[in-house]
Symmetry: C2
Subunit: 144 residues, 2 copies
DNA sequence: TTATATAAATATAATCATTACAAATATGGA
DNA sequence: TCCATATTTGTAATGATTATATTTATATAA
């Protein structure tokens, strides 16, 4: 919750990314909003305090962060990319009803049965979808 | 390799899908081309024997097949959906160099560590990416 | 400090996969 | 055959993302 500008700048510098105002604010947003936001969510929120902010900058910055392995791009949503500041391998569940994304812990050790030694694996994505507990209850209550 | 029109019609009828000419041809294509084709691949190939075929029909049909659980839509490619006739749970690896998708066997039993009992899970997608063995060799040979 | 080269941000336009829509065509049952 | 309905088709619209050119900010050297 409490990330100083100094801390965030350091995180960027360690990845050889110059800590501009926009980059600091975008990274700060990601650190404080771990609900896997979309570009629009980030843009709309930050646009209030940085009126000159361009959506292109948000795209460029997130792309830069992705290359530096500061964020992961999730393709779990059918029509928008989601961004996750948590780089550790974990699974994602998206609710087809409300769109919320839930993290869950995974154990990749025994997942793959085939031998993939010859493959250079860079990213592992685990996506589940269905209906979340909250929406299951809502459906029962509204009877549809 | 050898699916008769009768067999394919039956597959559709069993899912309450009327076996139109276009639907039969699209399903036949999927059964005989298991390289996880894109809409464009399917359209371009079938357009030759069905000159009036519309790309909208390909989209509509694949969407219908997906709802009937005849195919799965893969979101592993950054800018195009891929379609997989194999409904069994298995993993997919996409090569960032050549775009080829490889299947691999998985064992989902011990994957999830968290308790997801409250969630209604409909689909499980396992996506890896990186460089495939063939492209690793090519890179070494071309030295870049 | 000032000039200058470079990096970053911005606004706008272009791209392109997918979807919406309305019209045309095909099909199965009375 | 006729008709209601399902399917297909062509075209246009949508909307996320990317390309491009211009403007602005920043770091460094003189």
């Amino acid at each position: 919750m409490n990330y100083s500008i100094k801390d965030i700048s350091k995180m960027l510098s360690e990845k050889d990314i110059r800590p501009s105002h926009q980059r600091i604010k975008i990274l700060e947003y990601l650190l404080e909003n771990k609900q896997h936001p979309t570009v629009d969510m980030i843009y709309n929120e930050l646009h209030e305090e940085i009126p000159t902010l361009s959506k292109t900058t948000v795209y460029n910055t997130l792309s830069l962060f992705n290359e530096a392995k500061l964020v992961r791009i999730l393709s779990i949503d059918d029509n928008e990319a989601r961004y996750d500041i948590d780089i550790e391998n974990h699974g994602h569940f998206i609710c087809k009803k409300c769109g919320d994304i839930h993290d869950f812990e995974i154990n990749l050790d025994s997942l793959v049965k085939d031998n993939l030694d010859e493959f250079e694996i860079n990213e592992k994505h685990i996506y589940f979808n269905g209906i979340c507990p909250k929406c299951k209850t809502d459906i029962r209550q509204s009877n549809n």
